[in-house]
Structure formats: C-alpha cells, structure tokens
Point group: C3
Chain length 343, copies 3
C-alpha cells in the first residue's frame, strides 16, 4: 500500500519537511532502506547513519531535522510514530476463519465461526474461544480454558485446563501457561506433591514470548495484568502477580508469590526470590537478583560487567582478600593511634 | 467432597482444637479462604494474616494454636499435612482410558487399554506405555521410548527415541527429554558433530517442569534418580547424574558430566560448570555459579544482591579499584615500617 | 558394524599400537566400555581411568601411548578422531521418505518425495522443504518457510512464516524460530507493538538446541551464519547476527541488534546487552554479562564463583563496605602525610 507523506503527517500528527506528494509503501532501516521506504531515528547510536540514509523519509526529533538529507516527519517520539505507521503499512495477517480438518475440537468447546483453528490444534472440553481468535498449528488448549477476542495463540503453545486469557493477547509458540507450580513439601519419604489448585488469569493486550512459562497458582491464581509484555523463556512462578504494563526481557525469572508493580522493566536474566514485593516503576538491569522488597521506584543493578580474564581473575582474588585487607587497615589504624601516645 | 475435622485429625495424625463435626470441603489461603475451607500456616511471613483468617480451620504448629481464631489442626509440619489433605480433597483428575481418534500410535507400540492418549499425540515404534499413563495433546513419544505406570506426559512434551521414564512421573508441557547433548569437536572445517549415543534414564516420582531440557548422554546415559523435582526451563546437559530427591528451581543449568548429589536444592538461575561433583545435601542460592567440586554439605552462594543504580555503579567502581586500594595500603604499611627505624 | 583397527588407522590417519586385525564395533567410555569397543582420552581429568580401561582400543595423544594397557590409535586430536569414527560406526538413522497420514501439508507447499514428514506435523502454504529433510512429529512449519537439503527438524519445533533454514541443520524439539522480536514502543496508553517485519536466516550446518528461541528481525533479518552451534534454551533476540562457527552453551541470552563475531564461545547463562559488537574469537565464561563492545579477542569473565554461605555473606558485606574502607585508607594517608610536616 502506497501513501503520501502529506497524508501520513496529517494522520499521525507530525510536522513534514519535504514534498507532501512523495509516496512511501514500506519501512526499512536507516542504512538499508529500499526505495519508497520510511525509517526512523530514535537511538542516538544510529545518528551516524542519518547522512547516508537510503530511505525516502525519516521520522525523527525536530532537533535532528537539519541533519536529515531526505524528507522528514518530525515528532518528539519518533519510535512510537514509527510503530503506528509501520502497523498501518503492514497490518498483521487477516484471520482466515474456519477449523482445519486435522484440528481436534471437543464437542463441548465453543468456537465462533470467526475463529481460525489451524492444523492439528486441539481445543479441550468446555473451552471458550473468542471472536477472531487464531489458534496455531499443534497448539493445545486445555479443558475449560478461555481465550478473549482477537487473541492469537501461536503454533505449539500450550494452555492448561482452566487458564483465562484476555483480549488482543499474543501467546507465542512453545509458551506454557498453567502448568503446575513448583510445590513440594519435604517428607521423610522425599518430596510430597502439593496440589496446584489455582489457575492463571491473564489480562488484555498481554504478550507472552516463545517458550515462556507461567505456572498456575497453588491456592489462589497467578495474575498477569493488562498490557504486560513478557519476552521469550521467562519464568513466572505460581501465585505471582505482575502489574499492568510491566515488561520483562528474555530469561527473567520471578519466584513464587512475588508481587511486581506496574510499569516496571526487567532486563534479561534478572529475577527475584520468592514472596517479595516490588513497587511500581522499578527498572532492573541485566542479571540482577532482587532479594528484598523494593519500595522505592528507580533503577537497580547487581551484576559485575565483563572483564578480560586476567583482570577478572584478579578481581575475584582481590574480593576474596577483602577480609585481610580490612585487617591490614585496622592494624595500621591501631599503629597510628598508638604512635602519638608513644611519643 | 466434605469431611469433618474430627475425621481429618484421625486420618492425618493431628491434634484438633475445635468442633470435630465441623466440615470442610476445599482449601484456601489464610487471607482469602472461602466458607468450609481449610488452610495452613507454615511460613512466618504469613503469621500476620492468622488473626483475620476467613478459613474454617488452619493447620499450624502447636505454638501458634493460641493465636488461631478458628478451628486448628496442630502438627509440627503443617505444610506436609496440608499437602496430604489437599490431595485428599482434590485428587488429580482420573485417567480417561482410550486413544483419541486424532492421535497417531505406531503399530509396534504397546499401549495398554488403561492408558489415555490425547488428541494429536504420537507414539513411536516399539514405544512401551505403562498402565494408566496419560499422554497429552500433541505430545511426541519417540521410537523405543518407555514410560512407567501412572506417569503423565503433558501436552506438547517431547520424548526422543529410547528415553526411559519411571513410574508416577509428571513430564510437563514443552519439556524435551533426550535431545542430542551439545557435543561438537573443533576441526579445521568448523565444529564436527559428536554422535550422542546414550539415552536418558529417569527414575520414579520425578517431576520435569515445563520447557525443561534433559539431553541424552554422549556415550553413557544421563541419569535422573528417583524423586528428583525439576522446575521449568531447567537445562540438564549430557551425562549428568542428579541424585535422588534433589530439587532444582527454574532456569537452573547443569553442565555436561556433572554429578549432583542426593537431597540437594538449587535455587533459580544457579548452575555448575561441567565435569564437577557436588556431594549430597548441598543448598545453592539463586544465580550462583559452581565452578569446583563441592564435598562438604551446606549452603553456598555467590551472586551480589541488587542495589540502587547509584550504589551499584559505585560498588562496581570500587571493586575495580581494589588493586589500587591494596597498593595504597602497601605503601602505607611500608611507610609505617620505615618510620620507627627512622626515629 | 565391525571394523578392524588397521582399517580405522588407515581411514582416519592415526598411528596404530596393537594388532591391526582386532575388530571393534561400538564406542564406550574409558571406565565402562563393553567388549569390542573403542574409546578416547582427551580431557586430562579422565587420565586416571586409562590404566583400568575395559575398552579394546583407546584413541589418544602419542604422549599417552605408553600408559595405555590396550590397543591405541595415536593422534594429536583424539576427540576429533573419536567424533569421526563414532559417526562412522553409528551413522544417524536413515531418512524414511514419505508423509505420515496424520501430517497436514498445505496444497501449495513443496515437499520432495525424499523427505520424511512425521505424524501430526504441519507444513504451511508455499513452504519449500529440501531433499531428504525430516520434519518430526507435531513440528509446525509456517507459511513461506524454507528448509535446505538434509536438515532435520525434530518433534514439536516451530518455524514461523518466512523463516529460511540452510542445509544439514538440526533444529531440536521445542525450538522456536521466527517469533516476533520484543518490540514495543512506550506510549501514554501503554506499550505499542512494533511490527516485526524481518525474518530469520540460518546458514548451513547450524544446530539449534531444544527450546532455543531465535526471534525474527524488526526491519532487517536476524542472521545465524554457517556452522553456528546453539545449545538448549538459548535466546537470540531480533536483528542479532551470530558469526560463523560460534558456539553458545545453554541459557545464553543475546539481546537485540547485537553482532557477535566468528569462532566465539559463550558459556552457559552468559549474555550481552543490546546493540553491541563482539569481535571474532572471543571466549565468554559462565554467567558473564557483556555490557560493552569487545574488540580484542580473548577470554572474558565476570561472575563470582560460589563460596560457602558464611564466606559469601562476608564477601557481600565487605564489598558493600568498600566506600568506608577507602575512606579509612584516605584518613590514614592524610594522617601520615601530615605527620612528617608536624615533626
């Protein structure tokens, strides 16, 4: 679909520098955009590519306008405007209603005629599928599960029985929602399984990344509020609550019964111990372990950044010597305190 | 199912405070239990909710009995008793024997009439399925695999060829058991694949979490002993042996040929390097990396806990200055040693 | 298949110590090899098992020849020779061409008669499957995806639409290739999804481990070059490029737009932040976080190794005291500097 820059400027509230009749029909990157394509500049790291951009038009902040050699759409938030225009130019594929012959839908399941059920998918008993839902190939929807309108469950994802998913969610392939939480009581004969009797309740506009796991609650439910975005390979343990619009990058792990606030950001490989509370607007850097409640918004970190092996080994050795270092310091302090009196 | 507290006390060996005729029929949490429900108090963190509990009865330690405003079942190990009673009140769903029409069972596979094979599952050639086994939707059981009685394999789990699973195991969705270990020999033309000729042997009463991976052995087998509990997204590399009743939380990674003892506990994101030995009864805290053999039972840790970004940056800077700090200390020590002789 | 040691020596370029007529037919470990079996000694850790080996023949370095109580094949790179001989004795199972009745192949897909499509697999529209490709049970191949000759996609793996896989790759179970990258723009109404319009392009001879995720690019493509080996549960974010022959162990996480060089090695749980560049021949140790570009080949590390809990707690406390330690040091230095002038 081709659209004139002038139309885009009006539709998305940008100031246009350039010919309003110029048309674009796709998006590209600053360095590699093809003809008739639009790109954006948000991260200053990519500022260096602006001068030689091959795009027809760049969405950027007003302060970068003069450096742009082609047409520009000016906006204070170029990444957001790019997201909107890219979605406008490349809308997600339309639903193709119908149930593939190889899919298996239980007689008691409710599947509206607007839904698309792909090859070898299975829909359990009494499951309720919303309007325009897509269930991908070999995805397994458990008994009594329910999926809100316009949600998409990708191939090979699994919803256990009773799981509740909101509207406009995207559950990526391999995601497992509603498996038993890790509940085992020690006993003289070994671990005793504790029945996991709650479920998982996911709000609207939630993304669950590929191979991400969200366990069902032990007694109450595990709750993912509206607008939460979970990347791939994330672990959400039983009875966790994730506040609205919080985003977690790949391989984050949230332990059981933790309560995470709204609008938080967790970077990759970070995580929490169980039974803690993190307030709203907390940003956690990569590989950071949260061991205590956080009740003050802001940024938190813990992981040492990489060093060359020689320096790294020295760092470890030095850290291990800290007791001795402090002892040496104390000896010096004692010596110095004594000396004046010795005079 | 409703049962009187008096009956529960007798059946599960507790002392009852309250009316033995009071009936309960479900379980709940201290804060949110509904009518006719039973809960427990084990973690002192939840002691604060006892006074205002809405449950009909609380399982707790004798020392908490006086603070309990409702009926109480007294026992020194309330969590274990809760596990037993909750399982009694809410037994796992019964097996529904039969092979779904959309499942694919190889002609040479052995599937007893007591087993339940769900939609779109596939059972490979010469695979042997035990009595009352459930194989979930789209699960794939490889050729020559064998599954012990009463084990449940959930939807979309995968068993590679030849894998051996014991009795009463639970293999959660997305788990992959028996994929090739990471065996590649460097060669001038790049990595050369090393055939992975062993298999995986899993004992009885083992839980394998969602999307957890257990690789087949390179020559001998990868062994998971009885009663081991693995949480979600755990990695067990080739030729590892995990001792009986050891539990590993989500995202733990055990490298190749490591031997882990019995009754160990690994917290989330912890792991080991390859070819090491960890003795019995070792507890490893979150994000800890084990780089050497451990031959003494006890607790081990390594990860720095989270700090506010400002403090974290300062910590990193200070750690990196340790060499200079030690040099300054040495200078001072030299100065002070010299001074007395200067007198 | 039985083969004489003399034949093996000629075929694989080793020097033989022992009777060339001795036959072997399988492989085993130094400690547990059965009769008529061959093993190898490469890791010095296993040198202790050489004297009492039960194998018929050991592949080892010339310097270990005299200590070998049985026949020996001498070579400077015993592990590589073992890989070649083990593959020769135990070749991967042959392809069994044909499409299982329960598989679902779109009418517009191209599946050559040499390919093997297993039970309940699905092949999307216009997908192109190469010669002798195996697609495992319940694997889902998206629309317009293409798979090169002799590649094997294991059970329950997922390829999203448009993904391109080279020749002789092994895509293990649960792997998800081409899911949407984690692209969300902040907006006053919450996160706005940014369309992920690129794809994933994987070269030849690439291994993708079980449950590993490789996201499609946001604008350009995510690229995995020839010969890359990814272990299980690895995360490769959108627009990453992994250089040829780089190997990554389990649970590694590479953030968006990172560019990783050729012949790198990443140990388990290590990772990078986004938008960084790592040069060729970099070795990263376990749990290390790379936060800046690396432009010098060599080894890098960051994680503290495990300590006993008491020592670990002390280490944390000491590290947290570093500011105070430095302050005490400065006080001493000031005192000492002042003292001489006081004299």
């Amino acid at each position: 679909m081709a659209i004139a820059l002038g139309d885009l400027a009006v539709r998305f509230g940008c100031e246009l520098r350039g010919d309003p009749a110029t048309e674009v029909e796709t998006v590209g990157s600053l360095e590699n955009a093809g003809p008739r394509s639009l790109t954006f500049l948000a991260n200053p790291k990519y500022r260096q590519f602006l001068e030689s951009t091959t795009a027809s038009c760049v969405i950027l902040r007003p302060e970068n306008a003069d450096a742009c050699p082609v047409s520009a759409l000016l906006h204070d938030d170029p990444y957001r405007i790019y997201a909107l225009i890219a979605t406008f130019l490349h809308p997600p594929p339309a639903v193709r209603p119908g149930i593939n012959d190889s899919a298996n839908v239980a007689a008691t399941a409710i599947v509206p005629s607007s839904a698309q059920i792909d090859a070898n998918a299975s829909i359990g008993e009494r499951a309720v599928i919303g309007e325009r839902v897509i269930v991908g190939a070999s995805a397994a929807i458990g008994n009594d599960a329910s999926i809100g309108d316009d949600t998409r469950v990708f191939a090979n994802a699994t919803l256990y029985s009773g799981v509740v998913i909101g509207q406009r969610c995207r559950i990526h392939s391999g995601a497992v929602i509603g498996a038993d939480g890790f509940g085992n009581a020690p006993s003289p004969e070994g671990w005793l399984p504790v029945p996991q009797l709650g479920t998982v309740r996911i709000g609207d506009d939630v993304d669950v990344g590929a191979n991400t796991c969200i366990d069902r609650g032990a007694i109450g439910d595990t709750i993912i509020e509206d607008g939460v975005k979970l990347d791939n390979l994330v672990q959400i343990a039983h009875n966790v609550r994730i506040g609205a619009h919080t985003a977690m990058a790949a391989q984050v792990g949230i332990s059981g019964s933790a309560v995470i606030g709204r609008h938080c950001l967790f970077a990759g490989h970070s995580g929490t111990v169980g039974h803690i509370v993190v307030c709203d607007n907390v940003v956690v850097s990569g590989k950071t372990m949260i061991t205590k409640n956080i009740d003050e918004p802001g940024q938190y970190g813990a992981a040492m950044p990489a060093q060359k092996m020689k320096d790294y080994r020295r760092t470890i050795a030095r850290v291990r010597q800290l007791d001795k270092i402090v002892a040496r310091l104390a000896t010096l302090e004692k010596t110095l305190k004594r000396e004046p009196t010795d005079d």
